[in-house]
């Protein structure tokens, strides 16, 4: 178990914080995430991106114990096929407002500057 939700375990995700402690997710290549033979399923890439966006937002909200978040929408752009190798993803909170957070996420294999896919997400921020 990874301490992540069951769906993250299904994808095989593990947390690899960067030097500053910000969350980076690692997804190994394997049958549960394969689409056509030899390539990642776009849905698995999207699941990784959404989880990376969520982790980045939770990390940003770490000081607020009573804050919760709900996804409003996601837009995923697929830029390159995901090959038979590990994939990493990280999220960036571009704006954290009182009600809405805008988060971006990027997934890459060899080079973070050559993403295989990217996502933009809007979240509802719930502060009781």
């Amino acid at each position: 178990m990874s301490g992540l939700p069951p769906y993250a375990d299904l994808l095989g995700l593990t947390l690899e914080p960067d030097a500053e402690g910000a969350p980076v997710l690692l997804m190994p290549f394997g049958d549960p995430v394969v689409g056509r033979p030899g390539f990642l399923h776009g849905g698995a890439i999207s699941g990784l991106l959404e989880m990376a966006a969520y982790m980045a937002l939770v990390h940003e909200l770490a000081g607020e114990a009573d804050a919760g978040v709900k996804p409003i929408n996601v837009t995923v752009d697929f830029m390159r096929g995901g090959r038979d190798k590990p994939t990493r993803a990280r999220g960036t909170v571009t704006r954290l407002g009182t009600r809405v957070a805008n988060v971006e996420a990027s997934a890459w294999q060899d080079d973070p500057a050559q993403p295989i896919a990217g996502a933009r997400m809007n979240y509802l921020v719930l502060r009781s």
Partner: protein
Amino acid sequence: MAFAFDPARFFNGEGARFGHGAAIGIGYRAHGPDWCELDLPYAAQLVGDPESGVIASGPILTMMDMAASIAVWNRAGFTAHATLDLRVDYLRPATPGETLVGRGECYRVTHSVAFVRGVAHHGDPDDPIAHVAGTFMAPGGYHR
């Protein structure tokens, strides 16, 4: 004439045993000339929020991506293609324990781009869980 893709045969055959669709439990329901309906039974391994038991959004996106992809093949014939982009609006949380139905429709095909839309629901399309819009690209072009 384009090679026809049979979603029922795919999901009753290798599609049910291998890969991400099989891992999350996506099944076939029905299809027509430009649409395809798949389903996603509730499963503990899909949960994104253990407190509420609500499934993650990722499996919904996967189902809608597959339903939309097959809808394109139903309209334009089977060809190698890839999702260019997909947008999902999460209208309300899925209900824990209930099966999700995902209907994808291909409403326009050009030489190399197919436009899709779709809805995920719990049996009543007028009470949707998620709404989807996206595009696919075929490097070798679509047969229209």
